[in-house]
Symmetry: C2
């Protein structure tokens, strides 16, 4: 679990004080991985505390994060600096947070990032790493995974060393997220709740977190009573609790199939989940019903026909990625999931999208 967290509007300003205690020496920089939408945005960049050789690396979140991207970042850092960094700070949405977690792990673990995709494969503790979400919903700020697209699969590095050592939850930072992205990323949280709460892995721990996150999602996406400020505060907490819920249970069908879309088509995680979940009435009837209400209320049109020009080989690739995520299917449908989920069934489901 995350060891330290600060919460509050303006708490981003505490970053300087937090890092001061963690600097190893003047040759050991802090590396800030920052979503490039903030390049030139003084409101953010001027408040990033830089000293000595600290470096900001702006990174586009247009594409899902890749293992090759992590390898390149780690190589850059190792070649450029004499000492191992004092820490990695990710500032952005799930993409930037996942990159920061993965870079912090790969600084101390040999080989390639793709070697560690899976469960509990990381050998050495990561260096100090901090997560500062600027979009809420993925739960990456609290989870024990960092989901990356590798040469062969899209899969998380799930380990006890993955969670951030420090998280800064400042709801002011999510105030300017464009509406579509706000919705798609928020729905990532909503879908976490539905997948966790209806899953076979559920226990009272995950249930209590999932229920709270779901309640907050309903307030935010279906209610009419919240001010923008309250809505931002609550969305940040919904993402947190939703992330905690799946950290101790598992996601399900929407995530398994959405990983297939991302791997083949590069579909971003939030919108990919929405495209899949919209078609899952058979498996999550109540959850999908509410989702459609939320879509309507916020006037969201999902892309259609994204699979219409795919070849047999393409479908097979997506199906391979999706079927590889055994724990997700087991959570959704129990140990006999393969009776329901055949390759033909998955193909017909993808063809709807």
């Amino acid at each position: 679990m995350v060891s330290n967290v600060v919460f509050g509007r303006g708490s981003f300003n505490q970053l300087e004080e937090i890092l001061l205690l963690k600097r190893l020496n003047v040759n050991a920089p802090f590396i800030f991985l920052v979503d490039d939408v903030f390049q030139g945005n003084e409101k953010i960049t001027s408040r990033i505390p830089l000293s000595y050789e600290d470096e900001i690396i702006f990174i586009s979140a247009e594409e899902e994060p890749k293992t090759s991207q992590v390898d390149a970042l780690v190589e850059h850092i190792i070649l450029k600096f004499k000492d191992r960094p004092s820490g990695i700070i990710g500032i952005g949405g799930g993409t930037l947070l996942d990159l920061a977690k993965a870079v912090a792990i790969m600084i101390t673990n040999e080989g390639e990032t793709s070697d560690y995709q899976g469960w509990d494969l990381v050998k050495n503790p990561a260096i100090f790493h901090v997560g500062i979400p600027t979009i809420s919903g993925t739960g990456s700020e609290v989870s024990r995974t960092t989901v990356l697209t590798g040469p062969e699969k899209k899969l998380g590095i799930n380990s006890d060393y993955t969670p951030f050592d420090q998280v800064v939850l400042d709801p002011e930072l999510i105030a300017d997220v464009p509406k579509q992205q706000w919705f798609y990323t928020g729905m990532d949280c909503y879908i976490h709740c539905i997948e966790s709460l209806t899953g076979t892995y559920l226990n009272a721990f995950s249930q209590s977190y999932g229920e709270k996150a779901l309640e907050l999602c309903k307030e935010i996406f279906l209610g009419n009573d919240l001010s923008p400020v309250e809505s931002q505060d609550k969305l940040m907490m919904a993402s947190w609790h939703g992330g905690m819920s799946i950290a101790y249970s598992q996601v399900g069908i929407a995530h398994a199939m959405s990983y297939g879309l991302s791997y083949l088509l590069g579909t971003k995680h939030g919108i990919g989940n929405c495209i899949v979940f919209d078609q899952l009435e058979e498996f999550y009837p109540e959850g999908v019903k509410l989702f459609k209400e939320m879509k309507l209320k916020h006037d969201i049109q999902l892309p259609t026909g994204i699979c219409k020009d795919l070849s047999d080989a393409d479908f097979n690739t997506m199906i391979d990625v999706a079927l590889g995520l055994v724990p997700l299917w087991e959570n959704a449908l129990g140990s006999n999931w393969q009776k329901t989920i055949t390759r033909a069934k998955l193909r017909s489901m993808y063809e709807q999208m």
Copy 2:
């Protein structure tokens, strides 16, 4: 925050595996501080994994934990063992958990335990420490404090080094708690929620945890639908979420006044909170109303007249302890709390108890 947690019925059996990875060497023992109600209880003691020089120390939880007790335990450990222990494991209710946290801190910090009562006075990281609750409600398993009675005050050691490195939440362990204790300790959680949710320190982080814990308390203590197993699972989570809620806000009047009772009369924390809270309709009208319903439903008779034979000096001692807890009063009543809470007012309130 707690770095690692396992949850589940029977998860106590994972302790051996958890400790295996944390043993420093064969001369560095694990010290188990265990509530002495479990002495001779094979169900617990036979499952404590002992190797090499590991030691079980049984401790009575009849009295509130004391700084002098921590000093004595630390001295015993330092004199007896060649090497610093690999870790301290607390198994019991809030008393045992608080002792385990304090001992783990004092192994690496010089001077006396009472030197560290307050906020952020601890200088060095504690040694590895594990909390395993066998009674639920105090939130000690998740909090960043360890509340101790010292020579001059009852006050917590609040620090970033206080929280457990590992918590094992096994609801089977709370199955045999006697009814009165189940109620008093559960009410500690309920009162945490009321004090946090009505406090001026509240933010969306604490609110979301407090609301969930409160909802669980209502289900457990006022509902009729839960099986014993469900009730145990949910009480364990209520305690957890309630503890998280106050970790990032603060408790209030019941805790401030109950600390006075404990300091002077040795009143145990759970029952002390109940005795005080029962008289706080003026400050927490809705919370106290529900509390009285819970008392009635579970046929709980609180002691009365516990202050009737006290001297002026005794009252002054209690009032000094209570008034010393400034953040608690500020949280409850805002920065002008001293306008409402005078010595005379406190005296008249204590006289009702």
